[in-house]
Symmetry: C2
Subunit: 193 residues, 2 copies
DNA sequence: AGTAGCCTTGCTGTTATGGCAAAGGATCTG
DNA sequence: CAGATCCTTTGCCATAACAGCAAGGCTACT
């Protein structure tokens, strides 16, 4: 796991402060937007207040960021991803992302003769996104049974039972993304009771 | 209307419980993994305990999910994405995702003669991921100046100044992901479950 | 200096917390 | 069915965290 917990926790305060300062907002203004008192905000940013969801959700909304973005620190360095392919179930997965905690991308090579038709649809937490590079893909998703051709994309919630097949005859290459929920929640700010 | 804050807050408990039960884990086991006491876990799931980051982070890690996923809910429908290409700055963007609020993916076609070299590096909130389908891409990211070839991927924080160029001679195709959050985010209606 | 805006912090009564241990339920076994 | 075992919920209470007021420090501008 990439992100260490204490680090992430300790980073929230500075992160909040950075967000606010980038937007050139005063604590008072933020207090009005979020309904959180100035002193609480101040202590939150300085780390002397526990970050509860009750505090973080209005803040994430006020800043129009995701919760995870409140926790993650930025990053620097060579952006290129170079990782070893993984073999599993006759499929080849080439990792395209590095951060295990968040979104993960693979280039996946599915042989035409993959004995997939036996397998059952899977269900798990998350969100998946597929883009077909070459070959053809058969996506069974809940009730749907869909064939995707090169250049086509699909996205779905992996809580729905799903299965990716290669109907052949040629091997298929896809780009495959697993992510946290793609949907973010952004509602207009509202004052607390 | 997206999900409201109180709703999201209230959903955390059930979500935690769902995650645990899906994994067939007992509170005791989870307590060992996370270092959180059984009673606290129980009360967290039942909503009678405030979800602080101190509690949620170990849990998110134990479940290998993002924080946001602890708060969100599922969805259904035909997964195929079919949207019209967008022309901008001589580049062609083919949307591969549908939900404006979250992660967005594009197939981007960059002509070789694009007048990009004049442009300056950009900085904005978010996270970006690139995969080169064909042609060559020159990525200027902070201090780095990197050429990516087909099959290569890069990911970086868009808070770092960045610019994508096509050094030519042929047009380049890339897959481009922005996430988890851009600065300009629109609220998108979604049917509530 | 004087004024104004912003942020931090001491202080207070109030509330939440965390874990122990007992109690409720479900399941299994002979 | 009784007994045993495991899982979860909950009453309890000493301790810790909280929330907001108001005072204080800091900076910038006049």
């Amino acid at each position: 796991m990439a992100k260490d917990l204490e680090g992430a926790l300790a980073a929230v305060g500075p992160q909040l402060r950075a967000l606010r300062q980038k937007r050139d907002i005063t604590l008072t203004q933020l207090a009005e937007t979020t309904g959180i008192s100035v002193s609480t905000l101040s202590r939150l940013e300085s780390g002397s207040r526990r970050p509860t969801l009750e505090l973080l959700l209005p803040l994430a909304e006020a800043y129009q960021v995701t919760l995870d973005e409140l926790v993650d620190a930025p990053e620097t360095g060579d952006p290129r991803v170079r990782q070893r392919p993984i073999e599993r179930n006759g499929h080849t997965y080439i990792p395209l992302t590095r951060r295990p905690g968040g979104m993960q991308a693979f280039k996946q090579i599915i042989p035409a003769d993959a004995p997939d038709c036996d397998r059952e649809q899977q269900t798990h937490e998350g969100y998946e996104w597929i883009y077909v590079l070459s070959g053809r893909i058969r996506l069974r998703l809940g009730e749907h049974d869909i064939v995707l051709t090169p250049g086509e994309a699909a996205e779905f919630d992996t809580r729905l039972p799903h299965l990716i097949l290669n109907p052949g005859p040629e091997p298929a290459e896809i780009i495959n993304l697993f992510g946290p929920q793609g949907e973010r929640v952004h509602v207009r700010a509202r004052s607390r009771g």
